[in-house]
């Protein structure tokens, strides 16, 4: 408003920076950065990109302030900063995946998937993750068998029956439970099952610990899906004289099923990658143990952890291949789960 009273001719339109001007700014910034890196002790690709990005933000801000005014300049700077933030977030993902692919390829062979580490020292070549694959498979399977019905029942309680303080408390603590550190879940099963009941290390103990981690995820995912089931379906069922429990089992759950399957798959992906609770409860073993209820067992993430702690290159190579396998399993689970959601999405 004050501008209008200033007397000078006022235009409401300010200049506008075209794309090629910004491009030119970019090129100049790159040249300046290259110059800086040639003259000063600065070095490294990462450093180059960061310095260039910072310089670009500054240069764009100055040019835009001159041509377009302060408000537009801030807007431009924020826009660029937001884009840079997103690109920055992609860097570790791309880096982890490509690095794991490169390092994991060394031992991605038949022997790796068909042999255990029995009698294989850190320096020895060969050996594999067969025992760990078995362990992971059994532990995750048992975890799923326990968590899914348990979690579904909790979700049914929250959505279909829950009222008052108890339901509020359960809802709240399901959310709090998602934040329990995995190592604490491991310690819990260690103190309750392994030490308390004197059961010793076993794959089943690991499953119990993983259940503590998987349960809240299953509950949350199923709860979201059950809420999306339209009330008209329930009412129609009630109107036909169907009792409530049958309505839930025959109408509500089947309607929500695709979404629940997605949630369960994501939960499985999450617990498959857990290391700490398995370390405390199954402890790890070099030999094949197909009995999840007795004796120490290994798992894929645990194998990665234990092999990575060896300084020997052969062990590290095994760790990378196991890590690559783990990434592939988790990514496939994630992708399939997302594709499922896209195909059968209940409209909100």
């Amino acid at each position: 408003m004050t501008v209008l009273t200033a007397g000078a001719p006022v235009t409401l339109r300010r200049g506008h920076l075209s794309a090629w001007v910004l491009g030119a700014v970019g090129v100049v910034v790159l040249l300046v950065t290259a110059g800086l890196f040639a003259v000063t002790p600065l070095e490294g690709t990462a450093g180059f990109v960061i310095v260039a990005a910072a310089l670009f933000l500054a240069a764009q801000g100055v040019v835009s302030t001159v041509v377009e005014g302060r408000r537009r300049a801030i807007d431009r700077t924020v826009t660029s900063a937001v884009v840079f933030a997103f690109l920055l977030a992609l860097v570790p993902l791309v880096s982890v995946l490509t690095y794991a692919l490169r390092q994991g390829a060394h031992r991605f062979d038949v022997e790796f998937f068909t042999h255990s580490l029995r009698n294989i020292g850190a320096r020895d070549a060969g050996g594999g993750a067969y025992h760990a694959l078995i362990g992971t498979l059994q532990q995750v399977l048992i975890t799923t068998v326990i968590s899914v019905p348990f979690g579904l029942l909790v979700a049914v309680y929250i959505v279909e029956y829950g009222r008052g303080r108890l339901a509020a408390a359960i809802r709240f603590f399901v959310d709090v439970m998602t934040g329990i550190p995995s190592i604490v879940a491991g310690l819990f099963v260690l103190s309750f099952w392994t030490l308390g009941l004197g059961q010793g290390f076993s794959g089943f103990a690991a499953s119990l610990a993983l259940t503590v981690l998987m349960l809240p995820v299953v509950v949350r995912a199923s709860e979201e899906m059950l809420k999306l089931v339209p009330d008209s379906l329930r009412e129609a069922s009630f109107a036909l004289g169907v009792p409530r429990w049958k309505t839930i089992l025959r109408i509500v759950l089947p309607t929500a099923l695709p979404g629940i399957v997605t949630g369960v798959m994501l939960a499985i992906a999450r617990v498959t990658g857990e290391t700490a609770p398995v370390l405390l409860t199954a402890f790890g073993a070099a030999s094949i143990n197909t009995d999840p209820f007795h004796g120490p067992q290994s798992s894929l993430p645990l194998l990665v952890f234990q092999q990575a702690q060896d300084a020997q290159q052969t062990a590290v190579n095994r760790a990378w291949t196991a890590a690559l396998t783990l990434i592939l399993v988790v990514m496939v689970l994630n992708l399939v789960a997302r594709l499922l959601t896209r195909r059968n999405r209940l409209e909100r």
Binding site: Y157, R163, R165, L166, A167, V184, L190, S191, A221
Partner: protein
């Protein structure tokens, strides 16, 4: 509080009442005043229906109570197992920097571990927060509509990578990058106590913090993105109609609306960072010391990492001590998580994701 936490699917009730429809099961129990939302019809009905309903309801209530029981049991059993070790402790558990629970006599204290845990998590938060908010804004307000979904999914994939893989990548790849960065920080900002060093870098708290930052970034980003997407279009359009630029619109319409969500998401990220075990255990060169020197190896340790690293060699008393430290971690993360969830719950329509 309890009012807000009710599941939002209860629109059924007024309709049922107003239309006077008789619902076979649970009609009268749905009326206000019915205790606990019971569903059994008070009036006589077919007994098999009633039994089926009673059994099913009992199962689901039992599961819900069982879940609460697990949380209580975690606390109880950790305390139960920690007490003997704490009694055997010849040092002061709260103030002693040593950690020798396997020695005779055992001397151990939590202060060095707790300090390292909180320091590394806070640094991780400082690094992750601005990037995560930028990512969330990019996906909710800057990226083309069509791309927003897939791009959000790509960021979620960051959370899908198992922590042990980040640890492995941290040792063999990121460590070299951090060494360079550490040298730079020490050379130019060495007067800050945080960046003091004696020329040896890597395997440091900073490395652990950067790994943690990468791991909590998708959590903060995806939750913040959800709140940003819930900002009423009317508020945003009003701002734009008044001539606000996109940033001004975000500053006056989106960020104030999203503030509780951002705070909650950040606290959840903090909770995750505090409890992260394996990645830190792999990348950190541990030491039981309260130190601010984040660039050097052997200048700290975290509770969770120490449990993973110390478990293998622990004696019975050592295990008890580790459980005691786990109890401290449990309490810290529980407090952080409860605050986070309470902040998030204040905004009723936002319930948080499954991360």
């Amino acid at each position: 509080m309890s009012e807000r936490m009710l599941p939002p699917d209860r629109e059924l009730d007024p309709q049922v009442r107003s239309t006077g429809t008789t619902v076979v099961a649970g009609d009268d129990a749905r009326l206000p005043g019915a205790p606990g939302g019971g569903l059994l019809p008070r009036t006589g009905g077919r007994s098999s229906v009633r039994r089926g309903d009673r059994v099913f309801r009992g199962l689901s209530v039992g599961a819900g109570v069982g879940l609460l029981g697990i949380i209580v049991a975690i606390g109880v059993f950790l305390v139960y197992r920690a007490i003997p070790a704490l009694q055997a402790d010849k040092g002061n558990f709260l103030t002693d920097q040593n950690w020798d629970p396997n020695a005779l006599p055992p001397v151990f204290g939590i202060v060095a571990l707790a300090f390292g845990t909180i320091l590394s998590s806070l640094i991780a938060l400082v690094i992750a927060f601005p990037v995560a908010i930028g990512v969330a804004l990019f996906i909710s307000h800057y990226a083309p509509r069509r791309l927003a979904g897939p791009l959000g999914y790509v960021i979620d994939l960051l959370a899908a990578v198992p922590s042990v893989v980040y640890g492995l990548w941290g040792i063999f790849f990121l460590n070299d990058v951090i060494k360079g960065l550490s040298a730079f920080l020490h050379d130019y900002l060495g007067f800050i106590p945080l960046f003091a060093a004696d020329g040896i870098y890597g395997r440091s708290i900073l490395l652990a913090s950067v790994v943690l930052a990468i791991m909590i970034l998708p959590i903060i980003a995806s939750l913040s993105r959800e709140v940003f997407l819930q900002v009423p279009a009317a508020n945003q359009e009003a701002a734009l109609a008044l001539g606000a630029t996109r940033w001004e619109m975000i500053r006056i319409a989106v960020l104030p609306f999203g503030k509780p969500g951002i705070i909650g998401a950040t606290m959840l990220g903090l909770g995750r960072a505090l409890g992260e075990t394996i990645a830190v255990a792999l990348v950190l060169s541990p030491a039981f010391i309260v130190s601010l020197r984040i660039l050097e190896p052997g200048q700290g340790n975290t509770i969770a990492a120490n449990i993973a690293l110390g478990f293998g060699e622990a004696t019975a008393n050592g295990r008890g001590a580790l459980i005691a430290s786990g109890l401290v971690l449990f309490i810290i993360t529980l407090v952080v998580n409860v605050i986070a969830r309470a902040v998030i719950y204040r905004r009723k329509e936002f319930t948080g994701g499954t991360l």
